[in-house]
Symmetry: C2
C-alpha cells in the first residue's frame, strides 16, 4: 500500500525557507507571489493489506519520527 504524508509548518511559525524562495522569485521578477511556505512530502510503501491499519501505523510514525508536532501539521493520504 502506498501513502503520501505531507508535513507543513503550522500557521504562524516562521518559515525562513519559504521566505528565501519568495525573495528568489521576486528577484526573478515574479511580482505576483504573495506568500510561499515550504514543507516536506514523504512517500511510503507499506506491507499492509488493511487501509485502517496502514493509516494507524503511519499516524504513529508521524507522531514519533516524521513530524515535529509542536510546530508542524501532517496530513496522510493513501494513494
Amino acid at each position: 500500500m502506498k501513502a503520501r504524508v505531507t508535513i507543513m509548518l503550522k500557521d504562524g511559525v516562521l518559515d525562513p525557507q519559504g521566505e528565501a524562495i519568495k525573495q528568489a522569485l521576486t528577484s526573478l521578477e515574479y511580482n505576483n507571489v504573495n506568500s510561499v511556505r515550504q514543507g516536506k512530502v514523504i512517500d511510503l510503501e507499506l506491507n499492509e493489506s488493511s487501509e485502517e491499519a496502514a493509516i494507524d501505523s503511519i499516524q504513529e510514525m508521524c507522531e514519533k519520527l516524521l513530524a515535529n508536532t509542536v510546530i508542524e501539521n501532517y496530513e496522510i493520504k493513501l494513494l
Copy 2:
C-alpha cells in the same frame, strides 16, 4: 489563488534522505515499510485571477528555480 507544487526525485535517482528515514523507522521496529522517498512541497499564494495564467506562471517558476528538472519531477495543483 493558492497552489501547491510537489517536487519528488525521479525514479531511479538515489534518495539518501528517504533511505535514512527508512532506516530510522526500521530501528523503531516498523518492519512493514518497504520504501521511503522524500520530496518537497511548496505552497504558493499568487495574485492571479486566471487559473491558466497561474499554472503557466508556476510552471515557469518550477523550470527556472523551484525544481531541478534533471533529477526531479514536479506536479502543480491549484487549491
